[in-house]
Symmetry: C2
Subunit: 559 residues, 2 copies
């Protein structure tokens, strides 16, 4: 059902079109575009973090090409919550259309505003709350409270003449949320009574059976660890996980410790959370890092970034013993109160091992219950399907394994199999006469941000980086007489990333010289042909001698 490679036909009048420019078939860079009556609505606009086969890339953006000719048709960007994979690409879209309205909850918009300030942008922000309704062109929106691993998350219902759509955003069903703000299952049930034509559902944990343990069960685990600590305590977690940090704050109060934040994003976000009342902070609890460093070791808790093993983070520096201020001592306690995002295992365990080697007691989700997920597993997803009773389902926010598992759950609750549409990025789904179906496909590629540029690093550059990263390169430079083809210098041959042995390439020099003599004898003066000949000789030699495949880079200079 997803095999279409055709551009979709024009959307029939009265229909609703849905296409993800990111976020389906991957976890990250969520961006879904809804089209109705010639107008567009964007839900979320996030970034994806690169994998091993995308070296040197800083961020991956949704692919805006499908809408770049229709930017003026966008009525609004709706943000479900403030995580990077939902808001991180907004500044890049604002560069194309600075005046578009950005709609979201208070905390979400505060995080976005901070991000936009770094990009020197002042977006048009429209704050909404759960329970509110707003219309943007032909799209009537209604917002619902949703529980997730960040405060103030929203689901959004979209009413058009084509029918009623509900998008969960990122969601879980913690029945004892720390802030008392439950996912609005009752509201979802009301929508279900009204009749939901298309339900877009978070797939992240669809493979995981059961239910998420309430966030508040983490508090006592933290308390138990911190109670026993008589030295320094460092807690690392996501810089946006306000409720996790709140529980650390509560334990700090209980054991008369102060709190010092470490890491730029932690300081910034907790400042925002505290200013807006999302973090409950007794007067005088926070101390600056400098002050904390002068306090007794059992009088302070450091709350730090770096829970994913990011090499430049404060925690990684501590683990390597090169943090400017905090040096870990035998008997210190470090708690990684965070998930382990797949792909980060080595980095995180390097940090854990570094801390363990320095003598710290390291508590992490592998040896204590210091983390719960922010996404509904299978058991909770069944509750959602049964509350909403949708006619059509579109799993979102997941890799293929998650999408398939989520689709199976929808079918298990009674959604007809041919009304469950797995539509990866770029697959166009049209809702027409109450039936959702794939109508075509638009091109959605990876858009890489590397340093200051967007888009100039592409697959060819990445493929070169992979070759260079595996085997380095061997360069051969020679100047030739451009009329006779005679080498007027000895060839300069050197390698980088090839061998530590300074003599590693000695044996190929005479082979290159012989080849240059041959090309001259054959009267070859074309620099390109000489370069090719040299590349062939060196490539064959290195494959036979070393069984390696470095990049071979001949430069033939005509003089």
């Amino acid at each position: 059902m997803t095999q279409s490679t055709e551009l979709p036909p024009a959307l029939p009048e009265g229909g609703l079109r849905v296409v993800a420019l990111g976020g389906i078939g991957e976890i990250g860079r969520n961006m879904t575009v809804f089209e109705h009556a010639g107008r567009l609505l964007v839900v979320d606009c996030g970034v994806l973090f690169p994998e091993d086969d995308q070296p040197g890339v800083d961020l991956i953006l949704p692919d805006f090409r499908a809408i770049e000719d229709r930017l003026d048709d966008i009525e609004a960007i709706v943000l479900t919550h403030g995580h990077e994979d939902h808001i991180g690409a907004v500044p890049f879209l604002l560069k194309l259309r600075p005046d578009v309205q950005v709609v979201g909850s208070r905390f979400t918009l505060a995080l976005l505003a901070a991000k936009c300030r770094e990009h020197r942008q002042t977006p048009r922000l429209v704050e909404v709350k759960e329970g509110e309704r707003r219309s943007y062109g032909p799209f009537e929106l209604e917002f619902f409270a949703v529980n997730h691993s960040i405060p103030d998350a929203l689901a959004v219902a979209i009413r058009t003449a084509a029918g009623l759509v509900l998008h969960t955003g990122d969601i879980k069903l913690d029945q004892l949320p720390l802030d008392g703000r439950l996912t609005d299952l009752a509201g979802f049930s009301r929508l279900g009574d009204e009749g939901v034509d298309l339900f877009l559902v978070d797939s992240t944990n669809a493979e995981v059976p059961g239910f998420v343990v309430p966030e508040r069960e983490i508090g006592p685990v933290l308390e138990n660890v911190i109670r026993k600590a008589d030295q320094r305590v460092i807690v690392a977690c996501f810089a946006s996980h306000v409720h996790r940090v709140q529980q650390v704050l509560d334990v700090a109060v209980q054991y008369k410790r102060k709190i010092a934040f470490v890491g730029r994003s932690m300081v910034r976000n907790m400042g925002i959370a505290s200013d807006l009342g999302f973090l409950n902070v007794p007067d005088g609890l926070f101390v600056d890092l400098d002050v904390a460093m002068r306090m007794e070791e059992d009088e302070v808790i450091f709350v730090s970034t770096g829970s994913q093993g990011e090499p430049l983070s404060a925690l990684s520096r501590m683990a390597r013993g090169d943090h400017r201020q905090i040096s870990i001592r035998e008997g210190d306690t470090v708690i990684l109160a965070s998930s382990l995002i797949p792909g980060n295992e080595n980095a995180v365990f390097n940090v854990v091992n570094g801390l363990a080697k320095l003598g710290a007691t390291v508590v992490h989700q592998g040896n204590a219950k210091v983390h719960v997920s922010g996404h509904s597993p299978a058991g909770e997803l069944l509750f959602l399907y049964n509350a909403v009773r949708p006619s059509n389902v579109m799993p979102v926010h997941g890799e293929w394994r998650h999408l398939r598992a989520n689709a199976a759950l929808a079918v298990a609750t009674g959604v007809a199999e041919d009304h469950v549409v797995i539509a990866e990025d770029g697959v166009v789904v049209d809702l027409i006469d109450g039936k959702a179906a794939v109508s075509g496909r638009v091109v959605v590629g990876h858009v890489y941000v590397d340093g200051l540029s967007v888009g100039d690093v592409g697959e060819s550059t990445l493929s070169d980086r992979l070759v260079l990263g595996e085997g380095g390169f061997i360069s051969i430079s020679v100047a030739i007489d451009q009329t006779t083809g005679r080498a007027v210098t000895a060839p300069t041959i050197s390698g980088r990333g090839f061998s530590d042995d300074p003599k590693a390439l000695e044996a190929v020099v005479p082979l290159v010289e012989m080849e240059l003599a041959r090309t001259e004898a054959e009267g070859i003066a074309d620099t390109h042909r000489v370069a090719q000949a040299v590349r062939r000789v060196v490539g064959r030699w290195v494959a036979e001698t070393y069984r390696r495949r470095p990049m071979i880079v001949p430069t033939v200079i005509p003089v």
Copy 2:
């Protein structure tokens, strides 16, 4: 206690020296050297697989430097079991000392012999069984049955005048092992009665609470999945996990399917296991892949390598849709009956997603109980400590987090804290008068195998590869008159792994030309100084323009 950087003093007469040349502070390349009365005994000699910061490396060997002057003192190499991280480096040690005796169990030696044949080596093999005793010089060895994720594993006790040492090898305490061969706790208890002076203990799962579920509980899970399959079934697991494969065979018999092995190491190892009687195979159960491809889809089970997402493996090819023979269809079933080794998550999930996208039902340890570990978790380690009641403990086979956790378990059972020695690779531990203590340190570095060479790729090459892999390079080639310093050609500037944009480097050309004019004007004709000047100009430009850090490679050719 591990901070010593001094070479150890000469070993006092009657003492026993222990030093790991690999395997402590990491999981892999296990190799422990025991010294007594001027003679050496080596236990295990394995390889380590590289991590992300060791790109292009095929294998990492133990560092033989500490014994390279004493090769003739080696009495024997004892192998505890046949996993690569215990036997993989034997051929490299045999190159240095081809006539050394290699002692191990039947299955272990069969796997080693197959490996040595690939290296065109015919080692001196000495087969031993549990319960046997052998003497090699001053080392009296006694072997004990051990249960692990490969058949025929052994623990080894080493008696010398210095005392009694017990090395577990890799161990777990499955109380219902598939082959009925229990870890010999009774034997360990007898040693404990005699008095174990030093106990070297597998730390892999020391952080994990509890006990490993018996291997045989996996059979019914496999049966349940395969029973429901009406199409093709593919089971991927480690090529040495004979008992896991046995359970697949048993289910195949039950459901009248044949078995076809896929992947070179699977075919080889299961041939060995079957020939030696470690795999129980009814006549006619095995079919060749070609035959299997002509059978009905519900008449065969494919047992394949590739459970760790290795990109060249059969399973990865199937997931990408480019396997020469097997193409996955909607409704096929794939079971990954294997662990997920940290660091392989992305690779494995890429395979799972590829298979899911093609429509296969993918069963893996994340959604079903299709794998159990081969290493004792904390609960089982306590049994071991209480059986052995050692005077001194040395945690082995683990990263720092595992070593620390294992040390804590030893202390919890009553071993005196100052008798537990965490000695990472190279740390020398002497057992003298019944007390084990660190006496110094020898250099143990990483020895990299890349293609056909050992050791020529070192940290400098790897650091270049990391730079090249992240940012590619920009090369600038120019020929200058070696007396005047005048550029006799226009500079050739090109990048690889830098940008897909052919014009990306255009703007730097005039800057380089200006710099060359400047060096000429200053009379600089030294190619090295000209190259440095060019590197500085290009490096500054690229940092400011792109905020990237490619390698800058100037080549200045004197003519």
